[in-house]
Symmetry: C2
């Protein structure tokens, strides 16, 4: 992040702090080889933060909780995985644990090493020769995390290396257009432990390489799968330029990681795993949320043929939204006046690493905010909606995800996810088809899959004691002695307050609404508790069987809403360590593990929203997929005493300087 | 609409045509008083249009079907309601029918007359006096259509006049903040037939005025409900200007009502009832949709106390999206380069009337369209999404609706609805509450209600013979002899083709997708029929009891999807005449009325999508409600051979001219 003058307890570790911590760890494990996997802020305990924030909000001085780093590392080799906490003032180790049986995430550096090792392996070279690839073919190897399937759930980290080729000298040729028939199992110390042929048609065919490899079918060669401008030169020229001009600059202000904009105030955080996080969010000085973050995401594939059940990626826990964040380029990813925040990470040897422009902050015009025309006077009063977007884009192999928190002037927060990038492809024989994939180019199958996200919502609606209300809109009974509904048109709401930790389901037929309320504060106008509602993104949940390893590993994917009592240690809905996880570590297990049901009424609670998309590819998603958008909203419900955006400036031609267009596109 | 040189068969009537038709009708009914209610284009029969459009698309000449006007009028008085068709070349009447028992819509002119008549009525004045309003109070009377409740379903048009007051000389003071305790029933020949007091608390109280009127409770007086800038002067000054600059002008071209933009080509239509309509929509020369329009909308209130069951508005059939279209103001309703289309209507005496700027056409930047970063080369390729919006905004009394068809570069069409404006309010005693409304200001109840829209989708996917496929994503059975699913993670799709006219339900748990396909055209890449899918807006359906008059009148509101065989006469999902309709005239009745089930497989079909929102007001919706957005999409599914937006220009700083912002909002 941009270096603040003095660190706030929520600020990510600075490069200087990373360097100090690394030095301390190296000192503590002198003469041993420390392979640094994580050096990040251990966020302060909430119990320590609350008094500090209260003082801060009241502009009083207070001593911040001490800063602590959380470090995960391999000692000597990948069988000794450890986590320690280091106090940043004393540089003393305050906590140490061995993460036995756990594995660290897969990062681009290891992916690169795997590719090199694969290509150097003589048996792999033999398999490649057996493919009899066209002249000029360059083989690309893409390592995937190993989705546990019970077959290699050994103590080692395993990587599944899928093979592709490009036929072009150009490094940006789309090699996903040529998925090859082979695949390699590799340990993270770069030993090839198996070479497999992939299924090539509707039948299942996984066998040792020597028997099964058939030559590459040259009829699969085609030219329509390129997307890079130097390879796909046909570009429409009809789209005329569109500039966003903010002559007085943006409406937001930043001071280090503190952002203030249109009555909103929040702190930006960043870490290797979740990427963008938000902290201590207030509107007009009133507390709304303590922390918002993407907790986890899961991308399981529906192709049942071995080895594809191993394609099931936890893109946060096993890859990291922070370490895979794009370097956002001015003018490419956003329009208008843009402020960037850098992230900091480190190499495996502990050197601080800058992740340039990992987050962008900018404003977006979102059309009309509110309007009314008095039909008697014909006077229209109209305001436009300005949005503050905090956006990060990650690349995980073939796919891109665009994550944005959007703040609105009417005190709502949206979380928008856009899925784009390139489909994960596998080979298929020409003329064949399978029921769990779409053929997107000759010999190229894009298997069905799901993208399931889990948004972690840590509310502080008017304070930390909150409750969750499930509200349905229900018809009144037909007229009866105690109910006055003579025309059968009446309806009311039925509310239930959730008492103990549980999952909840959406119900569109009932118009179900999920309200986080503060039962201790009554809205003076409505006479009801102040609250915010979650507007979910309605989604099909996990399709894999509840008994499957996928389901056991991705507990959050079985229901769209979960509520738990706040616990500093519970940040990741599929568990702290998803790499080759065996299940039993996620949100359902937390709840089940409590000795007795835990109250979530008038307590410090956390809401979790699982949502996503069942992505059965269209050919229109190839070779690069137009964004598929998902949107979740958090909106005030009887939190304010009227429309909080009533005071937004009117939308006028004087302010907006629009241009009238005459017939045939002539400017007037 | 902007006057074309020569009328296209889909062009709305020009003012000259309206004048000619009116003259012909007056001539035909010489010496009788003709009260013109509708003079609009009777769109040509599809069977006549298809050969014409085929020739037009092939740039061949063809004789257009003759233009016909549809005229609805009262003869002498409102008991003789008629419809005739007039051939525009001969000016001969080609069809004539008496609309016995039907009623015309309520327009602002009649609303104004009602108000004046109410206020002149001595009994009404007496009731107003009984209210003992504060000094300076100006009483406003707002006539509503009469939602049939079996009590006054007489042959006359009835209006329900609700009373409000403003305490301010200012004509734009928010009188909805003071709903008064009385209400008047009036016939459309302006006779007061009843004065009622309204219920004032949780008990039901409707009785003759003399007994029930109590003085206005002065403790209800408050200052927080104004929204007009001259009355609500507190405005935030933090939002800095934001201009959309299109230095080379917009990317669209218009020629009369023909619009071409980014491979799209379509014709804009407009009529008094549906407002904006779209015709003959093609992408890259390929036929996609024949006609898109909002067919109807229904706004029933959930307050069961008489007379509120009469609050149930068909805002299209009984009010008209065309006649209530806002005059869109440059720079107020949209940003950038904007083209407006005028609409034409007429006075009740038949004089052509311009509805200035009823539709706007402009472009919107919609963030990233697609992106991929090759993690090996770190080269990012990114394009931005430009949208073409065709927008109209209507005011129906207190509410505003913003309707926009949005065309995207990746060949999708979105239909966005934003609900804004002022809540309909009724009085409530201070300190009281009811279970079907929210108190939004002292003594002001905003009753629960639903907004249910019906989008009519007349597809022409690669031609007019289309089918509807319902596709679910379903888990494969666990491994068994005939199914290979050893890990329980496989899933496939199950498809059913709809054979005959019917309704369909959404099913999120099954990831249900609705595909309109052309079974006669196979996609060469995927080997499946070309198609477009409907991405519904998931909504709670009508809450009123199926036996209620609301349900009988609004047949489309019982299920989200309907498919029918195309019929030129079936445009309006709740029937042609919704004013005081008694039910049995809508989409369900059409289907039931066929002598036998009608095939919709490989036929000319129409899809209807009912969606909306259950609006239990928040106090944040007061005094003017921030837009609530709804979005429906139509997206290609294996219609093209790859991403149709692959050729969109790259997003670069050179093109976009963004500005870097440093810490604390300084421009660099």
């Amino acid at each position: 992040m941009t270096k603040p003058t003095a660190s706030h307890p929520f600020d990510p570790l600075s490069p200087e702090e990373i360097a100090l911590v690394v030095q301390a760890v190296k000192h503590a494990y002198a003469e041993k080889n420390v392979i640094f996997r994580v050096v990040t802020l251990a966020e302060p305990r909430k119990v320590d933060m609350i008094p500090f924030l209260e003082a801060e909000h009241a502009s009083k001085s207070a001593i911040p909780p001490c800063r602590t780093a959380m470090v995960q590392f391999y000692l000597e080799n990948s069988s000794d995985f450890r986590e320690i906490h280091v106090d940043l003032s004393s540089l003393k180790v305050t906590k140490e644990l061995k993460l036995t049986g756990k594995h660290s995430y897969l990062d681009p550096q290891l992916m690169d090493e795997c590719e090199q090792a694969c290509l150097k392996d003589e048996q792999v070279q033999e398999a490649i020769r057996a493919l009899q690839l066209p002249e000029g073919a360059v083989v690309c190897v893409e390592p995937w995390t190993y989705g546990t399937d019970g077959m290699h759930d050994m103590s080692k980290r395993i990587l599944m290396c899928y093979f592709y080729m490009r036929l072009n000298d150009h490094g940006d040729a789309n090699y996903y257009a040529y998925p090859l028939d082979i695949c390699v199992e590799m340990t993270d110390d770069l030993d090839v432990i198996g070479i497999l042929t992939l299924p090539s048609g509707c039948h299942d065919r996984v066998q040792p390489a020597a028997d099964g490899i058939k030559p590459f079918d040259r009829r699969k060669l085609h030219k329509s799968s390129e997307y890079h401008p130097e390879l796909a030169k046909e570009r429409r020229t009809t789209t005329r330029p569109y500039h966003v001009v903010q002559p007085e600059g943006p409406s937001f202000k930043t001071d280090g990681n503190l952002i203030t904009w249109e009555k909103w105030r929040m702190r930006v955080g960043f870490n290797y795993r979740e990427g963008l996080t938000l902290h201590d969010i207030t509107y007009d000085g009133r507390s709304v949320f303590y922390r918002l973050s993407l907790s986890e995401m899961f991308v399981p594939y529906g192709d049942s043929r071995a080895p594809y059940p191993r394609k099931a990626a936890f893109d946060l826990g096993s890859n990291g939204a922070g370490v895979n964040a794009n370097n956002l380029k001015l003018g490419c990813d956003c329009l208008g006046s843009i402020k960037y925040f850098d992230g900091y990470h480190h190499t495996i040897s502990g050197d601080p690493l800058i992740l340039k422009n990992a987050i962008c902050c900018h404003e977006i015009d979102d059309g009309i905010l509110w309007k009314h025309t008095n039909y008697r006077t014909e006077n229209a009063v109209v305001t436009r909606s300005r949005i503050l977007a905090l956006q990060t884009i990650i690349t995980v192999g073939n796919y891109e995800y665009i994550f944005a928190f959007q703040f609105t002037q009417d005190a709502a927060i949206n979380y928008e996810v856009r899925a784009t990038g390139i489909l994960s492809t596998v080979p298929i024989d020409l003329g064949d088809s399978v029921p769990y994939g779409t053929i997107v180019a000759p010999g190229v199958l894009a298997p069905y899959h799901q993208h399931l996200f889990c948004l972690r919502i840590d509310p502080a609606i008017g304070g930390h004691a909150n409750s969750l209300i499930v509200e349905d809109s229900v018809p009144m009974p037909l007229d009866e002695p105690t109910v006055h509904n003579p025309f059968g048109i009446g309806y009311t709401t039925s509310q239930s307050i959730i008492d103990t930790e549980s999952f909840l389901d959406t119900d569109i037929a009932k118009g179900r609404v999920f309200k986080i309320v503060n039962e201790n504060i009554t809205n003076p106008v409505t006479g009801t508790p102040i609250g915010y509602k979650l507007v979910p993104h309605y989604s099909q949940m996990l399709l894999a069987h509840p008994s499957s390893i996928h389901a056991r590993r991705s507990e959050f994917c079985s229901h769209p809403i979960w509520v738990t009592k706040y616990d500093d240690r519970e940040l990741y809905a599929a568990g702290d360590h998803t790499m080759q996880s065996l299940g039993g570590e996620g949100i359902e297990s937390w709840i089940k593990s409590r000795p007795h049901p835990v109250s979530v009424r008038n307590e410090d609670i956390v809401l979790w929203h699982a949502f996503g998309t069942t992505h059965n590819p269209r050919v229109e998603d190839w070779p690069v997929m137009p964004c598929e958008k998902m949107l979740v909203s958090l909106k005030p419900v009887n939190f304010f005493d009227r429309n909080p955006a009533l005071d937004v400036q009117l939308s006028t031609q004087e302010r907006n300087c629009s241009v009238l267009v005459e017939d045939s596109g002539k400017k007037s």
